[in-house]
């Protein structure tokens, strides 16, 4: 890794930007995130969190186990607003009874 290595692919944040945030006093993944946007993209830190925690651990000389995880939030993976609003119509959930019960006119 060198200074220009991309750490957060979603937001294109490189190592130098992460290190500069740590130098200005950021101690946690979320501190760094708010200063740099690292981890704010579509993957929501799933890809970069381990890398960033390693960088924090090395820069501050503390063990990796003491570096907290990023705060995960709903909906964990991108989810359509219509689904959250209960307005998605393409439901595949069906009634067990309706699926098997003979309808009028069905041959027995």
């Amino acid at each position: 890794m060198d200074e220009s290595t991309i750490i957060c692919k979603c937001e294109e944040i490189n190592l130098a930007e992460i290190e500069s945030a740590i130098q200005s006093g950021a101690h946690t993944f979320d501190d760094i995130k708010r200063i740099t946007r690292c981890g704010m993209g579509p993957c929501q830190a799933k890809i970069c969190s381990s890398l960033v925690r390693e960088i924090i651990s090395q820069s501050l000389e503390v063990s990796l186990s003491e570096i907290g995880l990023p705060r995960m939030r709903m909906p964990l993976k991108p989810t359509r607003i219509a689904a959250l609003a209960g307005k998605e119509t393409s439901s595949s959930v069906v009634s067990v009874f309706a699926e098997s019960a003979p309808k009028e006119g069905d041959e027995s």
């Binding site: 006093g25 950021a26 101690h27 946690t28 979320d30 501190d31 708010r34 200063i35 946007r37 704010m40 993209g41 579509p42 929501q44 939030r73 709903m74 909906p75 991108p78 989810t79 359509r80 607003i81 219509a82 959250l84 609003a85 209960g86 307005k87």
Partner: protein, 363 residues
């Protein structure tokens, strides 16, 4: 020997950082800012960051917000690009009977110079074609806008550091005493001595106030916000309830819950917010939400800012309010006037801490 400061500010959110920066402009004072964690980890970092004016009532409160919004372009020239955009603000209503109160609001706010237009459905849709045709009308003002809260707080701090302000992060205050006219601020990392003290602790004001024997009448009000994936330009204005950021993501939410410091997001509010999103902007139904977040607003018990000297303690000051993002340029400016000239360009009488009866009881 312990270093002595002229001013110590407790809290490095948008208000504390703004006060420290504005005070440092004249480079006359040794200034220290202490924060229990890292800037943006609290209220100032969990907001949609509207710079919102036109619905702020009573009108004197609207006027304060307007004066502050007017300072933003000048602030940006001094501290750098905080992505302030005066987009104009639209607050839609869905019931024709609301038009009368909209007109009353416009009339009241005009008295202090806030220009509000009450729009018809056609006018609203012409300005924002993506809004729902179910909207009956809206109040609109050119003065509203939004800002990037992360850039704002970071650049206040950078500019203050350039003016030699000292910052101490991850350093909770654990006691404050007054000794021979000086404040001794005990923190986890040591004791700081200061002549003047500013409490800018936002939702934590109550616990910091207790060190000085004060009962600071504020409560915590949670708000939850949904963030979409980056979208093509959808809305140009700041809409009461949502805005689109420079990178395309739309921030949606306007909820109020009194649940203390609990910053969890909850499915019921997320679902109601998603419904609001679709009610306002039907196209949003197809957009993806990538994250929800929650922040804790600080709300003085009567809803209005508390700014100025603490009446019972010489050299102690307080600045705590909802809408710190909107008001921070003004608060930094008037607090600096207070420190440097002992008088302010706007009247702080209505903002005094001792207007609360709770406060009078405690002293």
């Amino acid at each position: 020997m312990t270093k002595q400061y002229d001013v110590a500010v407790i809290g490095s959110g948008v208000i504390g950082s703004s006060i420290a920066y504005h005070l440092s402009e004249s480079r006359q004072k040794e200034i220290l800012v202490i924060d229990q964690a890292y800037p943006l980890s609290g209220t100032s970092g969990s907001t949609q960051a509207w710079v919102w004016v036109h619905n702020k009532t009573p009108s004197w409160y609207g006027e304060l917000s307007m004066l502050s919004a007017e300072l933003y372009p000048f602030l940006e020239r001094k501290i750098g690009d905080v992505e302030y955009k005066r987009t104009g603000g639209i607050a839609p209503f869905f019931d024709e009977s609301d038009r009368q109160s909209a007109l009353r609001l416009a009339e009241q706010q005009a008295e202090v110079g806030i220009e509000i237009e009450v729009l018809s459905r056609e006018q609203v849709l012409e300005m924002e074609p993506a809004l729902s045709p179910d909207i009956v009308g809206a109040t609109y003002s050119k003065i509203d806008g939004n800002v990037n809260p992360f850039r704002l707080v970071e650049l206040y701090i950078r500019a203050a550091k350039k003016n030699d302000v000292q910052f101490s992060f991850y350093n909770p205050v654990i006691d404050i005493r007054k000794h021979k006219g000086m404040f001794e601020v005990t923190t986890r990392k040591g004791v700081f001595i200061t002549k003047q003290l500013v409490l800018a602790a936002g939702p934590w004001s109550r616990s910091v106030g207790k060190f000085l024997g004060l009962d600071i009448p504020v409560k915590q009000v949670r708000g939850q916000v949904l963030v979409t994936e980056p979208l093509a330009p959808l809305i140009k204005h700041t809409i009461g309830g949502m805005r689109q950021a420079d990178n395309g993501e739309v921030l949606i939410g306007y909820s109020k819950e009194e649940v203390g410091y609990d910053r969890r997001t909850t499915l019921d509010i997320i679902q109601d917010t998603a419904k609001m999103a679709v009610d306002y902007l039907p196209d949003l139904a197809k957009a993806n939400i990538v994250r929800c977040f929650a922040g804790i607003r600080v709300m003085p018990n009567d809803g209005h800012p508390i700014i100025g000297p603490i009446p019972t303690i010489e050299n102690a000051y307080i600045a705590v309010m909802h809408s710190g993002i909107t008001l921070s340029p003004l608060v930094g400016t008037v607090m600096t006037e207070l420190f440097e000239y002992r008088e302010t360009s706007i009247d702080l009488e209505k903002l005094r801490l001792d207007r609360f009866k709770e406060f009078k009881i405690s002293v």
